[in-house]
């Protein structure tokens, strides 16, 4: 039994929207009606675009339904070297909202060493209970130990939803845990909602480099697992008198083989640009023409108290190190203010910065795609515009 796209040829008006929207070239027209070939992955782009509602994606056969013993929302609270990742607080804030909608508790899982301080911080940010595994073998990150630890916590606590940050650590070991537990996982979500009636988590994420958004559900298995992009959700205000409790969790180490051994953690300070956490980013692209012109970007960034970003084009040209790259193959950022200078705005760049609150685009080409996402646009020669920006800021005492 293989699933095929369902096309109602009576409803079809032959407009061909589906053919042009298909990301896989899986549709063609035959006798004025769409024909689907083997390239189809059932992504649903055609069903979404069809003005007549003539195309449907078949639904997977419903199985037994989710295990009702799973209740509650859990977040994985990432810490590195004793510092809780910002995304954990963002997840707690959203997790609180989801838990309240479902009428359940909000818990956190915390792995590492000397976790008392970090655990209390999680309570202040809204966790009802924090499960900790305090062990030297969890001091550094390995997929094997982290994956196994979270799997054991999930099997014991049985949350219906598990959220983790879409960080290098979360994106690495959460798929292992999801596979061990035997449930679905949605990567890099940017929006989470609850369908209260069905107790379903609606997980929205970008695909195709941000050109398509997809809302994903996991109807049959529990927990419903998602990684969530940092800086997309808002962090809540901490409480001075948290009511929650810290519960040490006893991990069974017998299944952990030690086939992965962490030899060394190397911090590269030179690459520590803190782009991901900056409130203001000034980014330069190929329009700068030469490496030395990045001094304009740096000066403006300094005046605005911001970090320096770059497009892939500027990085590939060797004008600035990769650590500054924003975009699909670089960092995803969501500052309050993003100033794009001489950046054309290729899709791969836009994905990495389009969730900034305010975007300023400065480019000589009025057709540049960066203007599509801009809040304010200036069409002009950056070598005139940027020095003027700097001059006015300095004159204002900046």
């Amino acid at each position: 039994m293989s699933a095929t796209l369902l096309i109602d040829t009576d409803l079809c008006s032959g407009c061909e929207s589906c053919v042009s929207v298909c990301p896989f070239s899986a549709l063609s027209m035959a006798d004025g009606k769409p024909l689907v070939n083997d390239q189809c992955t059932l992504c649903g782009a055609c069903a979404e675009i069809c003005p007549e509602g003539a195309i449907r994606v078949p639904e997977a056969a419903p199985a037994a339904g989710p295990d009702p013993a799973y209740r509650g929302v859990m977040i994985f609270a990432e810490q590195r070297l004793g510092r809780v990742a910002e995304v954990a607080f963002e997840l707690l804030h959203k997790g609180r909202e989801l838990a309240d909608t479902l009428g359940v508790t909000l818990t956190a899982a915390l792995l590492g060493r000397e976790l008392d301080g970090p655990a209390r911080e999680l309570l202040r940010y809204g966790a009802d209970r924090v499960y900790t595994v305090d062990d030297p073998r969890l001091e550094g990150f390995t997929d094997e130990a982290y994956g196994e630890a979270l799997t054991q916590i999930i099997r014991s606590v049985k949350p219906e939803i598990l959220l983790a940050g879409a960080t290098p650590i979360g994106r690495s070991f959460i798929p292992k845990t999801a596979t061990q537990v035997g449930t679905g996982l949605t990567a890099d979500c940017t929006e989470l909602e609850i369908d209260a009636e069905k107790r379903l988590l609606l997980q929205t994420r970008p695909a195709f480099g941000g050109n398509i958004m997809a809302t994903i559900t996991c109807p049959q298995r529990r927990p419903q697992m998602a990684t969530v992009r940092p800086k997309v959700l808002k962090k809540g205000a901490p409480s001075d008198s948290p009511a929650g409790e810290i519960v040490p969790f006893n991990l069974d180490w017998s299944g952990i083989s030690g086939k992965t051994r962490l030899l060394e953690i190397v911090e590269e300070l030179s690459e520590k640009v803190r782009l991901a956490e900056a409130d203001v980013i000034v980014a330069g692209g190929r329009g700068l023409q030469e490496a030395k012109h990045f001094s304009l970007i740096r000066e403006l960034a300094e005046l605005l108290g911001g970090a320096v970003g770059a497009s892939r084009g500027a990085v590939d040209s060797g004008w600035i190190p990769y650590a500054h790259q924003v975009g699909q193959t670089g960092k995803t950022v969501a500052p309050k203010l993003y100033v794009a200078i001489g950046v054309s705005g290729a899709v791969q760049h836009l994905v990495g910065m389009q969730s900034a609150e305010t975007i300023v685009a400065i480019n000589s080409d009025p057709q540049a795609p960066i203007f599509d996402v801009a809040t304010y646009g200036i069409v002009g020669d950056l070598f005139e515009v940027v020095p003027e920006m700097i001059r006015q800021l300095k004159a204002a005492g900046g």
Binding site: M1, S2, A3, T4, P23, F24, S25, C40, T41, L42, C43, G44, A45, A47, I49, V57, G140, F141, D143, T167, S172, P175, K176, A178, T179, Q180, L185, A187, D188, F208, N211, M213, T215, I216, C218, P219, K259, T260, R261, L262, E264, V266, E267, E268, Q328, T329, L337, V347, T358, I359, P369, D372, T375, Y376, G377, I378, V385, Q392, L393, A396
Partner: protein
């Protein structure tokens, strides 16, 4: 040493453009390519083979046309290839994909190392590599930016993190997903291109893999796509007008009003 490299055929993202009216993908005439990250995985595999001997097998799941990507990989220097293709595989999420690939890998066993790109540029999930490792009970490392040393029973690698990198030692057989910093892929050789034309590539369907329809494709997937839509370009855009000095001034006033800058530039003209 037997190295298996997993590939995915994807639409060439560099050719993908947005329709300015509908903000949907314009995909007509867009070619299919090997997922760019997978080429770094292939190169990493070829380098280990060239140094230590053995063979590189490329594996993909996809529609029949995905065979093209396997032939391309042979032109780069892969020794063997296997295609997992069946109507029943369509609509697979990462759960069903890693299941199917694991069954495919078992057909190719024994092996010492599996290499994958860090993620595919169409789905961007980065879940299939770790999922595949777990299915096969293998240790793994993601985001590998350097292979320091390969020994008979272990491998030492560097894993790229946000604030630097971790050095890891992993017992073989193992799985790695690699980032682009790991190497500079070679170009296809003439000899490879010739071989790519004639090489026999075995095809495995669901039945060959001993997989039930309920384990693969859409039916074997735990996640469901409920809705696909174009992202909302929520911005009210304002193009600033006038001489440069005025445009810049208006910009700062607007940003000041939004409390994005602490300076009062109103009197600066």
């Amino acid at each position: 040493m037997h190295i298996i490299v997993c590939l995915k055929q994807v639409p060439d993202a560099r050719q993908v453009r947005l329709d300015p009216e509908t903000h949907t993908l314009i995909r007509q005439g867009v070619e299919s390519i090997i997922n760019p990250y997978d080429l770094y995985a292939l190169e990493a595999g070829l380098r280990i083979r060239d140094e230590r001997g053995g063979k590189v097998t490329v594996l993909t799941m996809g529609p029949p046309q995905a065979e093209d990507s396997l032939r391309e990989a042979i032109s780069y220097g892969a020794d063997e290839a296997a295609l997992l293709s069946d109507r029943a595989f369509a609509g697979a999420d990462t759960w069903a994909t890693s299941f199917t690939l694991a069954r495919g890998v078992e057909k190719l066993a024994p092996f010492d190392l599996i290499l994958c790109g860090k993620q595919a540029v169409d789905g961007d999930t980065a879940q299939v590599g770790p999922g595949l490792a777990e299915r096969l009970g293998l240790p793994y490392a993601t985001w590998v930016r350097k292979i320091e040393a390969v020994e008979e029973d272990r491998i030492r690698v560097q894993r790229l993190m946000d604030d630097g990198y971790d050095r890891l030692e992993i017992t073989l057989p193992a799985l790695l997903t690699v980032v682009k910093e790991i190497n500079e892929p070679r170009v296809p050789s003439l000899k490879g291109k010739m071989r790519a034309k004639t090489q026999k590539i075995p095809l495995y369907g669901a039945a060959d893999l001993g997989a039930d329809a309920g384990q693969v494709g859409l039916s074997g997937s735990y996640t469901q796509v409920m809705r696909v839509f174009a992202p909302v370009r929520r911005r009210e855009r304002e193009m600033l007008q006038g001489p440069v000095e005025k445009q810049v001034h208006d910009l700062w006033v607007n940003l000041k009003n939004r409390q994005l800058i602490p300076f009062d530039v109103a009197g600066s003209r």
